[in-house]
């Protein structure tokens, strides 16, 4: 499981850094390194771009895993360079931004957009696999999640937009319910597709979701 990100455009980054001239850049050694959006190479690359924008880069680091509790320590090690900056530009995902915002009190500006939690299906190809809805029905849908893989998140079968096993929003995208049908059929469990699925409970846990594991 990885947090999948895409780098913001130069214009968007420039907009985010409006009025913030001295910048400390932070990348992440885990997800954004793997997606090549915030690893060592991308941190170096963006430093050059920031200088072209007329920004002053006070320093940079790549935190091993920006979302965990070691982040505070990594930032502490760079405290003098961060203190002299107006902000941190984050090339970690939103979870990293969240974590970085908890220490040193400097504004943290995201340099990437966090898209989804996904898996790498083939090298370099990431797909959303779980929407973390809190009511898993994968056991009834042959391990293919209709909440995630169906554009409309339908739980009772395909819509009328399915076409030769493809989705109406993208001819390259498989129709989730055709895949589910095929796999249930192969498993001899098609009766599961005949089962009525009631409306989803969107408040399994109230937002923002939190859980204490003891």
């Amino acid at each position: 499981m990885k947090s999948i990100t895409k780098q913001k455009t130069t214009e968007e980054i420039q907009q985010g850094l409006k009025g913030l001239d001295r910048v400390f850049v932070v990348g992440c050694g885990t997800c954004t390194t793997m997606t090549k959006t915030g690893g060592i190479d991308q941190v170096e690359e963006i430093k050059g771009r920031l200088q072209q924008m007329g920004k002053r880069v006070t320093g940079s680091t790549v935190i091993p895993t920006a979302c965990d509790d070691m982040t505070e320590l990594s930032l502490k090690e760079n405290e003098q360079f961060i203190r002299s900056a107006d902000c941190i530009l984050s090339l970690a995902c939103a979870l990293g931004v969240h974590r970085m915002s908890l220490s040193l009190g400097k504004p943290v500006i995201p340099g990437v957009d966090t898209l989804f939690i996904g898996v790498e299906e083939t090298p370099g190809f990431f797909r959303e696999a779980c929407a973390q809805c809190g009511q898993c029905i994968l056991g009834e849908t042959a391990g293919i999640c209709p909440i995630t893989a169906c554009h409309k998140g339908l739980v009772n079968g395909p819509c009328g937009g399915t076409n030769n096993g493809r989705c109406e929003v993208d001819k390259e995208k498989d129709c989730a319910w055709t895949l589910i049908y095929n796999r249930l059929n192969a498993q001899g469990r098609l009766e599961l597709m005949h089962r009525y699925q009631p409306p989803r409970n969107h408040h399994v846990a109230l937002k923002p979701r939190a859980v204490k594991i003891v």
Binding site: H151, K152, G153, L154, V155, N156, G157, P158, C159, G160, G161, T162, N163, N164, G165, E168, V169, W177, T178, I180, Y181, N185, L190, M193, H194, Y196, P198, P199, R200, H202
Partner: protein
């Protein structure tokens, strides 16, 4: 109060429905004109609900315009733009204003329309909407609360006999019947042999099927729909027939094809009726009916 449309469905007659599309804006003249043309020619008129995810005057407003003219309306309701509370509230309102029929649809995806950045809701799906109508008719909302005054609708849904693959579609079709769909209006059908096969299957289920008739206005349109519209397949012989027709007679040819399709369906008692979609050429619906001998 049983709706006039439901009475027609239960009468055993060959039922005819058609549809009007509300405008983008507040000028209702064209829609009202189409209602005038259709209201005495068909058993009920559907009003589309932001069809193809293009924002328009609401279906509910179109249905009221039909009521005002003494016509029978079928409220199309998609699950794309409203959560369950908004859908329930609209059902209460529609019932209070004498609208007696609802067609339950999931709705096209938002990105195919003209508000590509809007949020697609899909809090319910078409099946769950059908169940909601039954639950509210029995006096209870989806929160489990008692209603003061219940709703009553003749509720229907859609099915795509040309869907490929057909099997997943048929499972959903069966689930819709079980959820209480009293009638189905199908996606456009042109291949009558395939449709007859579908009807052999559908006849086993207790519901009424109105075959979808979409007017073909050119060979290009027929080819485009076959290649691009999910669930529509126009056989090559019909495309050839249109292509061989001089340009100024091609609309008449489309009317003739629609008419003879309807006549065949009726004569062979293949299904219980038809739903005619003229898509912008509502003026010719009476001509289609005349061509069908109706």
């Amino acid at each position: 109060m049983v709706s006039r449309f439901k009475e027609a469905l239960n009468s055993g007659k060959f039922v005819i429905t058609s549809e009007v599309a509300p405008p983008k804006g507040t000028n209702l003249d064209k829609m009202r004109h189409h209602i005038d043309i259709l209201k005495d020619k068909v058993d009920a008129i559907n009003v589309t609900d932001h069809q193809s995810s293009v924002m328009r005057f609401p279906s509910l407003g179109g249905c009221l315009a039909i009521k005002e003219k003494g016509g029978e309306a079928i409220l199309q309701m998609t699950c794309r733009d409203r959560n369950r509370m908004a859908l329930e509230a609209d059902l209460l309102f529609a019932h209070s204003r004498g609208i007696g029929n609802v067609l339950c649809l999931t709705g096209d995806a938002v990105p195919v329309g003209d508000h590509k950045e809007a949020k697609g809701v899909f809090d319910l799906d078409s099946l769950q909407l059908l169940k909601t109508i039954r639950q509210m008719a029995a006096g209870q909302d989806l929160g489990g609360n008692k209603l003061e005054g219940v709703i009553e609708f003749c509720a229907g849904a859609i099915v795509t006999p040309e869907a490929r693959p057909i099997e997943p579609q048929l499972i959903k079709f069966e689930k819709k019947v079980e959820a209480g769909a009293e009638f189905f209006q199908t996606q456009a059908i042109y291949d009558l042999e395939n449709f007859a096969r579908f009807m052999e299957y559908a006849r086993k289920l207790k519901t009424k099927i109105l075959a979808g008739i979409v007017l073909l206005s050119s060979a290009r349109m027929a080819k485009y729909m076959t290649e691009n519209v999910p669930g529509i397949f126009v056989p090559q012989n019909l495309i050839d027939e249109l292509a061989a027709t001089p340009k100024d007679k091609v609309l008449a040819k489309g009317i003739e094809i629609a008419g003879r399709t309807i006549a065949t369906l009726k004569k062979a008692a293949i299904c219980q009726g038809v739903h005619i979609m003229a898509i912008g050429k509502e003026e010719v619906v009476p001509d289609i009916l005349a061509a069908a001998g109706l």
